[in-house]
Amino acid sequence: MIELRGIERIFEVGDQQVHALDHVDLKIEAGEYLSIMGPSGSGKSTLLHILGLLDRPSAGHYLLHDHDITALSDEQLAATRRNEIGFVFQFFHLVPRLSARENIELPLVLAGMSSAKRKPRVDAILDATGMMDRAHHRPEQLSGGQRQRVAIARATIMQPALLLADEPTGNLDSTSGSEIVEVLEQLNNKGITLIVVTHDHELGKRAQRRIRMVDGKIAEDHRHEPVA
C-alpha cells in the first residue's frame, strides 16, 4: 500500500544541514501493524509526518496506493490526508471549545458533508466507543483516556486506510493506556493499517513488525508472530 523510495528530509539548522531522514526505503502492506522506535532525534517522528503527508520529503518518492503523492498540490494533499489518513497524537489535540461530538465530526465538516449526513456516522462511532453519554462534553470535562478515544474516533470517522499514532499512550496512565492500545489494535484487526511511533518498548513489542531507527536510517526491520 505504501512505498517509500529513497526518502530524504534535510533541515537547515543555522548554517548546518541535518539529515533527519537519510535515504529511507520502506514498503508497508495494507493491514500491517507496525511500530517505529528509536532514540530521540532518530527521525522516527519525521518519518511519521512524511507518511502522514504533513511534511514533504526533500528528495525521493512516496507512493500511496501506487500513486506518487510527492507531486500533489496543497489542496490535493489535504484531501488525501482527510480521506486516507487518520492521526492520533500524544497530546490528543482536541479543539477545546468544541464538544466531543463536534471534535469527532470535524473531518466530515471539512469534507463539506451536510449535518444530516454527518449525524448517523458520528452517532455510530460514539456508540462503538462507548462515548455516547459524553457527546456534549468539552475536552476539559473528559478524562485523558476519554479524550484519546475521542481523538481516535475523529481519526477514524472518515474510514481511512492508514492510522498513524504518535506516542498514543504517552500522556495516559497505564490502565487507560492499555485500553487505548486495545482500541487501536481492534481497528487494526478490522483491516486498518496501524503505524505506532513510541519510546515505550512494551507498546512497540506488541506490533508484528518493528522498525528501529538510528540517525535517520532504518537500523532494524523485524517481523514477528502476533502476540497471543
Binding site: 497530546f91 470535524l106 463539506g112
Partner: protein, 402 residues
C-alpha cells in the same frame, strides 16, 4: 466546507474567546457609531438650514428694483440711468404665467400706529392676500388681507401678536379702528406666527394692502415683488419670464435684480456637504483604527491557536480552508461590530432628536452603507495578513506547540 459550518465554527471561536471578541466588537461598534452619529448631525444641520430657507418660501423668486450687477457694453449704461419704478402693474403682469402660483407685491415703511391714546412706531408691510400662503404664516384670530384688486386701497389692517398686545392688552382687537399715520384702518386679523422672516419680526409687523401702504408712504415703487412658482423645476423658466416681461414693460431695459432661493440654498448645501464629509472622514479614521486593532488581535489569535491550526491541517483542512476560517472570523467580528455600532448610532440620533426638537438628525443611507462597507473592508483587509500567516503555518511545527 459548507458555509453554515464555517459560520458555526467561527461562532464557537468567537464564543470561546469572549473577552477578546467583546473588545473587538466594541472597537468596531464605536467606529461605526461615530460615523453614524456624526453624519447624522451633519445631515441634521443641513436639513435644519434647508428648512429655515424653505420657510422663506421654497419655490420663491424675489424681484427687486435696480440692477445690482453691471453688464458692460449696453449704450445706455454709458449715458447712465436711474432704475424705473417697480409698479403694481408690473406685479400684475407677473401673474400672467401658468407656472406662477402666487405673486405678492411688497411695500415697506415705518409709521406711527395709535389706538385710544396708545401710540407706537412700527414697521408697516404693504402686501396682498397671497402673502400669507407664500410665507407659510399662520393667523391667530380673524382673517388675513382680503383677496381684492391689486390697486384697491382698502383701509384694513392685520396686526402682529406683539403689536396687538401692546395696543390692546386684554381687550378684543378685531373690528376696532386704529390710526396709522393720518389714516384710519379697521383691524381684521391677528398673526399667530412668531420669529423673523425676510428680515422682519413678524410679531412686530403691521400688514395693510399694498395700495394703501404706497399711498400712505407716498411711494411710487414697490420694495420687492415675491413670485412663487408651482414647482422648484419651474423656477428657471419663471426667472426668464420675469426678466423678459419686466424688460418689455421697462422699454427694453433690464433694470431689476432677480434672486432665487435656489442659488443660496445650493451654496449652503455645498458647505454642509463638505462639513458632513469632513466629519465622516474623521469618523472613518476611528474605523481604520478599529481595523488595525482587529489585525492585532487576529495575529495574537493565530499565535494562540497554532496547535489548533496544525490539527485542522492534520484532519484534512487545506491552506485555503484555514484562510477562509480566519477571514470569516475577521469579517464576522467587523459585521457584528458594525451592526452594534449602527444600533448605538441610531439610538443616539433618536436621543438627540428627542432632546432637541426641531433638529432632525437623520442618518443618511450613504453613511450607513459606507460605514458598513468600510468596517467590513478594514476587517477583511486587516484580516488577510493574520489569515495568511495561519494558512502558511507548517503543520508539523504547529502540532508540536501546545
Amino acid at each position: 466546507m459548507i458555509i453554515t459550518d464555517v459560520l458555526r465554527y467561527t461562532f464557537t471561536t468567537l464564543k470561546g474567546f469572549r473577552m477578546r471578541s467583546a473588545l473587538m466588537l466594541l472597537a468596531m461598534a464605536i467606529g461605526v457609531a461615530a460615523v453614524v452619529v456624526l453624519t447624522s448631525l451633519g445631515e441634521g444641520a443641513q436639513r435644519y438650514v434647508s428648512a429655515e430657507f424653505a420657510s422663506l418660501g421654497t419655490h420663491l423668486i424675489v424681484v427687486l428694483p435696480g440692477r445690482s450687477e453691471t453688464s458692460g457694453g449696453a449704450p445706455n449704461m454709458l449715458v447712465g440711468s436711474t432704475p424705473r419704478d417697480l409698479t403694481l402693474d408690473d406685479a400684475l403682469a407677473l401673474t400672467r404665467n401658468s407656472s406662477v402660483q402666487r405673486v405678492a407685491p411688497i411695500a415697506i415703511g415705518t409709521s406711527n400706529i395709535s389706538w385710544q391714546g396708545r401710540e407706537r412706531e412700527v414697521p408697516i408691510l404693504g402686501s396682498n392676500s397671497e402673502l400669507l400662503e407664500l410665507r407659510h404664516w399662520k393667523m391667530n384670530k380673524g382673517r388675513f388681507l382680503p383677496n381684492q384688486k391689486i390697486d384697491n386701497a382698502t383701509p384694513v389692517v392685520v396686526l402682529g401678536s406683539k403689536v396687538r398686545n401692546e395696543l390692546f392688552g386684554a381687550q378684543a382687537a378685531i373690528g376696532e379702528w386704529l390710526r396709522i399715520g393720518d389714516r384710519r384702518f379697521r383691524v381684521i386679523g391677528v398673526m399667530a406666527t412668531e420669529g423673523r422672516s425676510i428680515g422682519i419680526d413678524v410679531e412686530e409687523v403691521v400688514i395693510i394692502p399694498t395700495a394703501s401702504a404706497m399711498s400712505l408712504f407716498n411711494n411710487t415703487s414697490l420694495y420687492r415683488i415675491l413670485v412663487e412658482g408651482k414647482s422648484r423645476e419651474a423656477i428657471p423658466r419663471i426667472q426668464r419670464f420675469v426678466i423678459n416681461t419686466l424688460r418689455e414693460r421697462h422699454q427694453g431695459e433690464e433694470d431689476i435684480t432677480v434672486v432665487t432661493q435656489d442659488s443660496v440654498l445650493a451654496t449652503f448645501d455645498r458647505i454642509f456637504q463638505a462639513l458632513t464629509l469632513t466629519v465622516a472622514g474623521i469618523a472613518a479614521i476611528s474605523l481604520a483604527v478599529a481595523g488595525v486593532l482587529i489585525m492585532n488581535v487576529m495575529l495574537v489569535s493565530v499565535a494562540h491557536r497554532t496547535a489548533e491550526i496544525g490539527l485542522l491541517k492534520a484532519v484534512g483542512a487545506s491552506s485555503r480552508q484555514v484562510m477562509v476560517l480566519f477571514m470569516t472570523e475577521a469579517a464576522m467580528l467587523s459585521l457584528l461590530g458594525s451592526a452594534i455600532g449602527l444600533i448605538i448610532g441610531w439610538s443616539s440620533s433618536l436621543l438627540i432628536n428627542s432632546l432637541y426638537p426641531g433638529f432632525d438628525a437623520v442618518t443618511p443611507l450613504w453613511a450607513v452603507v459606507a460605514a458598513m462597507g468600510v468596517s467590513l473592508s478594514t476587517g477583511l483587509l486587516f484580516g488577510v495578513m493574520p489569515a495568511r500567516r495561519a494558512a502558511r503555518l507548517d503543520p508539523v511545527q504547529a502540532l508540536s506547540s501546545r
